[in-house]
Symmetry: C2
Subunit: 213 residues, 2 copies
C-alpha cells in the first residue's frame, strides 16, 4: 500500500493533488444543472457534487465553488430561485463535459442541448435527459472552511419515464441511461448487482427479485 500523509499534500503539484483528492469521494452522480439569469440567458453546467440531503422534506444539495466557471449557476440560482438537475446519458457525455469550458454564450447552444421549460420552474430543463428534477432554492449555506456554498434545493417536480419507475418508488437509473463519474474527468457506466433486503440482525441480506419490489 502507498501511504500518503497530510504533510505531503502541500508539496504536491497542484493538478496531482487535485486529481488525488477528488478521487477519494468515490463514484459520483453526474448531472447537468440548468439555470437562467434575469435577462433570460440560459446556463448549463456539468456537476458531480450533487447529493441527497433528505427525503421528507425532499431536499437535494449542490456544492458550488464561487470562484469557478460554475459561479454563473450560483448567481442565477440566487437571483431566480430556481434550478434544474438533468441526468447525463452516454450520447450526451462529450457535450456535457464541454459545458465546463468558458463559454460566453449559453452552454445550451454552445454545446448542442435543447432547453425545455415546464410551467412550474423558471430554469431550463435539458430535453435530451430522461430524469429531470426541478428545484427551488431553500437555503444557500456558506462553508467558511473553504469558501464554497452548499446550495440546498427543495424538490418541486420530477420528470421520469414510466418504465424507469419501479412499483415501490425506486428509480432504475441504469434504464434511464444515467452515467456516473469519478475524480475530475473520469466517466463510468454502471452494472447493477441488485437491490438488497432491509438489514436485520437475525438474517443475512438477500438480493430482491421482481416480486419483492
Amino acid at each position: 500500500m502507498q501511504h500518503i500523509t497530510a504533510d505531503q499534500l502541500p508539496h504536491m503539484e497542484q493538478r496531482y493533488r487535485s486529481n488525488l483528492i477528488n478521487c477519494l469521494s468515490g463514484f459520483k452522480n453526474l448531472s447537468l444543472l440548468g439555470s437562467i439569469d434575469e435577462k433570460g440567458q440560459t446556463n448549463l453546467a456539468v456537476f458531480s457534487q450533487v447529493f441527497h440531503i433528505g427525503a421528507d422534506p425532499a431536499l437535494i444539495g449542490v456544492l458550488v465553488r464561487p470562484q469557478s466557471v460554475r459561479r454563473h449557476s450560483l448567481a442565477n440560482i440566487l437571483q431566480s430561485g430556481d434550478f434544474t438537475l438533468n441526468n447525463v446519458r452516454e450520447h450526451m457525455l462529450l457535450r456535457a463535459h464541454q459545458t465546463s469550458a468558458r463559454w460566453e454564450e449559453s452552454e445550451f447552444s454552445a454545446c448542442g442541448f435543447t432547453p425545455w421549460f415546464s410551467p412550474q420552474i423558471k430554469a431550463p430543463y435539458v430535453t435530451e435527459s430522461t430524469l429531470r428534477i426541478g428545484l427551488r432554492l431553500a437555503e444557500a449555506l456558506p462553508l467558511t472552511i473553504n469558501n464554497t456554498v452548499l446550495v440546498i434545493g427543495s424538490v418541486q417536480e420530477i420528470w421520469v419515464p414510466e418504465y424507469c419507475l419501479q412499483p415501490d418508488g425506486f428509480i432504475d437509473l441504469e434504464t434511464a441511461g444515467s452515467l456516473s463519474c469519478s475524480g475530475l474527468d473520469s466517466y463510468h457506466y454502471t452494472l447493477s448487482l441488485g437491490r438488497l433486503s432491509y438489514a436485520k440482525t437475525d438474517r443475512v441480506p438477500e438480493f430482491l427479485n421482481q416480486e419483492q419490489l
Copy 2:
C-alpha cells in the same frame, strides 16, 4: 414521462417517497465509516452520503442523520475527533449492507470485518478495504433545514495500493474494486468509459490514452 409534483409527496406512502427521493441524487459513493468510542468499542457503518468538499485543503463531507442507527458514528466522531472511510468491494457487499442493522456489539465482529489501526488515527480502518482514508473532524455543521449534520473531515492520510494510483494522481477506483450504490438498497459495478481531456471552447474533448495521463 411521469410527472411527479411536490404536492403529491406528502400523500405518498413513506417508503415509496423515501425510495423515490433517495434515487434522485444518482449514483453514489459507497463507504464504510469506522469510528471508536471513549471505552474503545469500535463502530462501522455503511454510508452513501460521502462527498468531496475541496482539494486544498483536502476535505471530505459526510451527512449524518442523528436520529438514525448511524448516530453512534456521529457521537464517536465528536468525541474522538477521528474517523475513517473505507471502500466496499464486491466480496464485502453483503457484510457492508449488514452493518446498517441495529447491532449491540461492534459491527466489525458482528459483520465479519477486521479492524486495523494506523499510528496516526484513533479510529479503526477496515483491513478488507483497498482504499482507506483517515480523517480528523474539522467542522460539524448542523443543517437546521432537516436536522442533519454535515461532518467535514480533514484528510490526514490515505492508504491506496500502488497499482491503483496513476502518474497524475488519479486513483483508479475500478482497479481498487470500489462499488457504487443508488437509492437506499441498490448496488452497482462500474465500467470505465475513460477520462476526458480538459474542456476548452476551441476543441472537442477526447478520451485520454495512457501516454496522456
